[in-house]
Symmetry: none
Subunit: 546 residues, 2 copies
């Protein structure tokens, strides 16, 4: 007998409560698409009405499997559910499901809401019933449930009953302030089920304020709850919510869950988990946490000499799961065996075939390591990696040489007495022995200043002699900046994404203490990569320099 366990993601709503996190609508759409593809059952997209970007998201969002869910609050006292404008805004988002948060702790009902206990029960029942009458699947998030249950178990339970009477599909036990420990969560869930609340209508929503949100969710499932609410990478207010990225592999791969609980996430989809976790960091422009369970880059790194030698003999000696099951990889720093075959694979992807015992391979690994110590990162910037490898292999033609550049940024008052900025860049390159000076400014078609990197990029692309034709269809599509460590000093790492008219898209990296230098060096790599590709595609044009 396998039970169905439902997974509810609230990255886009509760996750956005993280300090410093504010998703744009396109970012929300991208995350929702990844969650849907992964196989999550519910995606809580935001609070329509409370937040303008949330309303825009619900208008644009589409899912294939996941139930899109709008979040809101139970109606206020003194008006009917039908006449509550806040609730109306939530229903107007038109989602299949609606999740309403309400009080279940008598202290909060009195201290925070200032209404009677009976009024609160009525508000819960009527709000849920209104959503059901509107044809929606309704969920009730019982705020501060565990504190409420400790203080007055009868009343806390009555709040759940009110929601179930209203027709709620799920009542979710929220440990809102994150203070309840797993053993207690397990006991409370067991007591509720023994007292007649069906486990397959009970959900759990934990926070990581004691570092036990994942374990608290598991304790609830052990006791019979059948829905888990959490976020990707444990985003969320204060210390974050239960991390679904940590929970999913445990539920799918490990006892006592694997094979006994059925989820919407398949083992095949789970292999994309590391990629999804990194994608979210990318959206947030965060450095991925190396130590993250399952998906961190250190999660299967064996540093101890003892472990490293043993893990080569038999991986299962020191690994509780196969790293590939979550799309991650083993790292054994001492053995460049793994490094070498990995390198060979990456070169093959770039169309460069090298024998496994080629003596240049360890040299390339050495160069990559040196540059990573300086602050470079090649895991996303595959094009820059390819150029580095080509150089080491003697396969990198010098298409052009940059002799010098100069860029200025000036801000002053214009004729209308408004402060405006303008950048101007001069780039001097030598192509086929001929020196070429180009100058550009940073104004776009609308007359707005796009800054010094834009000006440099335009000047560089203005005249590259016989290569000019090849770079005409190139454009800069994204630009990421991160302050990182290079040796002991802070340096700037710039990653540039470029695209061309043939549908190619490639990433290059530049590092320097000077942000303009870092950007320029990533730009140069982008142009060189494009020329490598186009020259290879059109050898008859004999564009390879002598």
């Amino acid at each position: 007998m396998t039970d169905r366990l439902y997974l509810y993601d609230t990255t886009l709503r509760d996750g956005q409560q993280t300090q410093g996190v504010q998703f744009s609508t396109p970012e929300k759409l991208k995350i929702a698409a990844a969650l849907d593809a992964l196989g999550l059952d519910y995606i809580e997209g935001g609070w329509p009405g409370a937040n303008p970007t949330d309303s825009a998201f619900f208008e644009a969002a589409e899912t294939t499997r996941a139930t899109m869910t709008a979040f809101g609050m139970t109606k206020r006292a003194g008006r009917s559910a039908e006449n509550d404008d806040v609730l109306a805004a939530v229903l107007n988002a038109g989602t299949r499901a609606v999740c309403l948060v309400g009080k279940s702790h008598e202290y909060h009902v009195e201290a925070a809401l200032g209404i009677s206990r009976e009024e609160n029960l009525g508000n819960i029942r009527a709000s849920i019933a209104h959503c059901v009458a509107e044809g929606r699947e309704a969920l009730f998030d019982a705020e501060h449930f565990f504190d409420g249950f400790a203080s007055d178990p009868g009343y806390a339970r009555a709040c759940l009953e009110a929601a179930l009477e209203g027709g709620a599909r799920w009542v979710v036990l929220c440990d809102t302030n994150g203070g309840t420990l797993p053993a207690r969560i397990g006991d409370v869930v067991a007591a509720l089920i023994a007292d007649g609340i069906p486990g397959d209508r009970l959900g759990i929503h934990t926070h990581d304020d004691t570092g036990t949100a994942v374990a608290g969710s598991l304790a609830a499932v052990d006791a019979g709850a059948r829905q888990i609410q959490g976020t990707l990478n444990g985003l969320g207010e204060r210390c974050g919510n239960a991390n679904l990225v940590s929970l999913l592999p445990t539920l799918l791969l490990k006892l006592p869950y694997a094979g006994r609980l059925e989820t919407g996430v398949t083992r095949e989809a789970l292999q994309g988990l590391t990629r999804i976790s990194r994608m979210l960091d990318d959206v947030l422009n965060r450095v991925p946490m190396k130590q993250l369970p399952y998906v961190g880059s250190s999660a299967f790194a064996h540093k101890a000499g003892l472990h490293a030698s043993a893990v080569i003999k038999a991986p299962d000696l020191y690994e509780h799961i196969d790293p590939g099951a979550v799309g991650n990889a083993r790292i054994v720093p001492m053995s460049n065996q793994a490094g070498r075959s990995n390198l060979k694979r990456r070169l093959a992807e770039a169309g460069i075939e090298v024998a496994e015992d080629d003596p240049r391979l360890p040299r390339i690994l050495e160069r990559v390591k040196e540059r990573e110590d300086e602050g470079y990162a090649y895991d996303t910037a595959q094009a820059s990696f390819e150029l580095l490898a080509r150089e080491e292999l003697g396969l990198m033609p010098e298409f052009f040489e940059v002799k010098r550049y100069r860029v200025s940024v000036e801000r002053r008052k214009n004729k209308r007495n408004r402060m405006v900025s303008l950048s101007e860049a001069v780039v001097v390159v030598k192509v086929d022995g001929e020196k070429k000076l180009s100058v550009s400014e940073s104004m776009d078609e609308t007359g707005s200043d796009r800054g010094p990197v834009n000006a440099l990029s335009k000047a560089l692309a203005k005249d590259l002699g016989r290569y000019q034709e090849m770079i005409e269809d190139m454009q800069l599509v994204d630009f990421k900046v991160r302050i990182t460590e290079g040796g002991t000093e802070a340096v700037t790492r710039v990653i540039i994404d470029s695209a061309d008219g043939q549908g190619r898209r490639w990433s290059t990296v530049g590092v320097s203490a000077n942000i303009v230098d870092a950007s320029f060096s990533a730009l140069i790599d982008a142009v060189n990569w494009k020329l490598c590709r186009d020259v290879a595609d059109a050898p008859s044009r004999a564009a390879v320099p002598a």
Copy 2:
């Protein structure tokens, strides 16, 4: 009846297995002193003999309360404990206690060691007995205990018995590959105690590979184990060890532990916990994790409007402990989800008193929202928020006016034919009606180029007339860049952290399509905030402009 719970720190040994972590001897001494002052019972300092810095550390280390412990391995087969040079090196460190790791999983005994099960039991017994005969307190770390117990409970238990027979004070159940979940840990500990292994000689050592290391430690204590091994900030191989910084407050402040278990750490010492956690990050030159339970800078940050307004009414509504108990502080940041009471509170913190019904409050909220739509983010940049509010309230003096600036970045060959960069900035300000031109370049003391923002920052701070004295002790301590959405276009958001000689630290934000402009505007805010503060502190100097 209160039980004594012993706390064992292995930051300096297992913590050093973290990828990228290598402590120097002075760093180890600094960390050991902090652990000793905090009240930890045992400090595992390293593996003498295996690591040269470990031997140097044990020579220099002194503790007042904590038992200094050397780590090692049970003797190898085919020689006596007295003649094992590896074991001799461990004993030579002269520590009061010695902790020896050994196998307790029959698969590992055979696959990794290649000796018989009986030989392994003999090695454990003899090694421990030898340490005890040398007058040391002995501990046995049972490697892979939980996997061993699952595979052959009788043999795993026999390994513990062998150590206890040898005279071990503690036998420690190590979940070496981090794969055992808390419920299982609790069951195994309970079974061992029921089977005659005394709980007050049982320790637990967990890893965070499933995100449950803290909960696993608590489950073992719940079942009767009386020693916890862990590390500061959860350092450790792969995903890290159990985080003592998360465990200590739970054990000292929360039920069912507070008042029922006695530890060497007092509630008073616990107030230094946030400082110790940050000190370790400082040693490692890491940015402290904001979401760390209890001690992270976001751990008591209330962003949701709903929470923020309630937490002001009664902090215990949304906080499970008082932040001061661990030396941390509450934060109610600004963001477009924040309500009016949140705003009022933030203003009060900045020394600005406004009535709750002041008509300017909604205008400030409106401005914040507008600017957030342009790409600004105020929840970290509180200083920029304060300036915006002051402007809206008519409380923002114009200390100086920036008339214009110009910055250039040039890259060309130097006399030695190497490509070098240099930036030069000119800033023109008007102070007290007087125009001041300042110029600076981006070279630091070592002759390295630090880029255009550095040059601008120096030029701006060169001459601010009568305010010059106030900004002399200001420095830029961090700089973060993120490409984000401003309306429909990509813009750059720059956040600058500044500090002054009075120990203040503040963050400001600037947004523009031009990265230099965005940086400059954050710099201007930083200077203005500093002047607001210093002028308020020294009104007698009459520095407020007319």
